[in-house]
Amino acid sequence: MSPLRSAALNTDAVEAASTPVSAPGRPRGEAASRFLPRALLAPAVVTLFLWMIVPLVMTIYFSLIRYNLMQPGETGFIGLANYEFFVTDASFWTAIVNTLLLLGSVIAITVVGGVSVALLIDDPFPGRGLVRVLLISPFFVMPTVNALLWKHMMMNPIYGVFAQVWHFFGAKPVDWMTDWPLFSVIVMVAWQWLPFATLIFVTALQSMNREQLEAARMDGARYFQQLRYLYVPHLGRSIAVVIMIEMIFLMSVFAEIFTTTGGGPGDASTNIAFLIFKQALLNFDAGVASAGALFAVVLANIVAIFLIRMIGKNLD
């Protein structure tokens, strides 16, 4: 469901919200009972509708005109020239590849790592409560702190902890930000999202059918068999949810790149979100940035369709 179409649907929705499914005897009167739910719902619907439609329409408009924030005088309809510029820019494909690499790697790391850690801490052991608290902490760290913490204290090629570890093993320390910029960003983002995935999986594991598990163990099912036939199928749904949620958030990773590599060296760690930012607020070319933004919106909507379907099934 594209936001545009569903928005159109939605105006009808407000109109039609008048018929309560269960209409209990209400002394306040029929007219009031029809009006009230609508009036209460209206502020949320109206503000969200504006929040969605105004930027979208403006973005579409900007993407079709010549629009530079530094030269407000020069305007005019230029058709699809902004799109052409954005797509033919050498950085565009690099940014697409980087976005996908970042997305794919972080999802792979967090899902595999998250399932493993969740399985590891599923059964009770001494200090489990504390372990849970410590494990989830990185998720609450704001992205800019996360980024600088890794850039300086962990990955600095001279004083960083990694450099010391490399020295200890007699290896030459790596200049992470210069030589492995995208990988560094992946590490930071994965560190932040691994706890999220773990938390979801731990929660999902709690609803495992213990008796079934017990029975399987009694029957001598090996751990791998339990994993293959009991745990993984049970986690299937939450794995899908984690993948979708992460896709939405990771498509527009920004602060980590902004504070560490600045998208560089060159375009080595520029993703779509950062490229749009560069066009808009560094090159001041709002037109081109808007064209790029529409790409990002389309990309996100493709993902969103699947997620919305899945959650929608769960609603009734």
Partner: protein, 276 residues
């Protein structure tokens, strides 16, 4: 009480493995906290120091140098006000959808969810231009509006799912007894829905506090939040690690502690109720 199972080799192995993984994952954060109590020299010493005489100088220095309190104030105001404002809008909406279900309720909920799927960067140019036109660049008001709207779908969803657990009969009984809408909210829904309201607020507070994209793009020196302050330590002051750590520590400590208490709600909120 069940008898304690005997300590097996498997349990020991599992415990050790779990703790090792945990310590590795937590290490960067622990290191940050340690570094914030070091002097600048200790912070970059080779090999790194695990044991040292802690100092509180950084905390004073960070405030003196970059006016930490101003940014902290901005963070508190923007996240608290946007959360309260969001709750004020989401509460009636969730009430309406949970207790006056119509055949459109589902579509409205789905549509709200879909607005959350829009990447923030897609709205960067228009929001920037609007803020600029309205003279709202680098004001708290701009951030409050943006935070409220971007968290609103999550709030409506979380409140909606918590209200759905409240039996209709209770509200109807109150109505039959002649309660006004306000009394119904105040005396029935608020006490019963307190848990949901509280956890929704908590989660949105965390999200607003950590928000970085809009803070970086819409604010500068006046309305900057802690997320933006930390980013300003990026290059020129980057080598003052002890101060950077200290500022970071102060920026994340309150919200990490908050987060510990809202873990479960976080799962439900961020997955829109798909995982419980």
């Amino acid at each position: 009480m069940a008898p304690k199972p005997p300590v097996s080799a498997a349990l020991i192995a599992r415990t050790v493995a779990a703790w090792m993984v945990t310590l590795v994952i937590f290490f960067p954060l622990g290191w940050l906290v340690l570094t914030s109590f070091k002097t600048e020299l200790q912070a970059i010493s080779v090999p790194p120091l695990l044991f040292f005489t802690p100092t509180l100088d950084n905390f004073v220095e960070v405030q003196r140098r970059s006016d930490y309190l101003l940014y902290a104030q901005n963070s508190v105001i923007t996240s608290v006000v946007s959360t309260l404002l969001g709750l004020a809008i989401a509460f009636p909406a969730a009430y309406s959808m949970a207790f006056f279900r119509s055949r459109w309720t589902r579509d409205v909920l789905m549509w709200m969810l879909s607005t959350k799927m829009m990447p923030a960067v897609g709205a960067l140019v228009p929001i920037y231009v609007l803020a600029q036109t309205a003279g709202l660049l680098d004001t708290r008001l701009a951030l409050i509006i943006v935070f409220t709207l971007s968290n609103l779908p999550i709030m409506v969803w979380m409140l909606y799912s918590s209200f759905r657990d409240i039996p209709h009969e209770i509200l109807e009984a109150a109505r039959m007894d002649g309660a006004t809408l306000w009394q119904e909210f105040r005396r029935v829904l608020l006490p019963l829905g307190m848990g949901g309201l509280f956890s929704t607020g908590l989660l949105c507070l965390v999200l607003a506090w950590n928000e970085a994209f809009w803070s970086l793009n819409l604010t500068a020196a006046k309305a900057g939040t802690l997320a933006a302050l930390i980013a300003s330590y990026s290059s020129p002051e980057g080598l003052f690690w002890a101060k950077l750590s200290c500022a970071s520590f102060m920026a994340i400590a309150p919200i990490v502690v908050f987060g510990w208490f809202s873990q479960r709600q976080l799962v439900q909120g961020l997955t829109f109720g798909a995982v419980k």
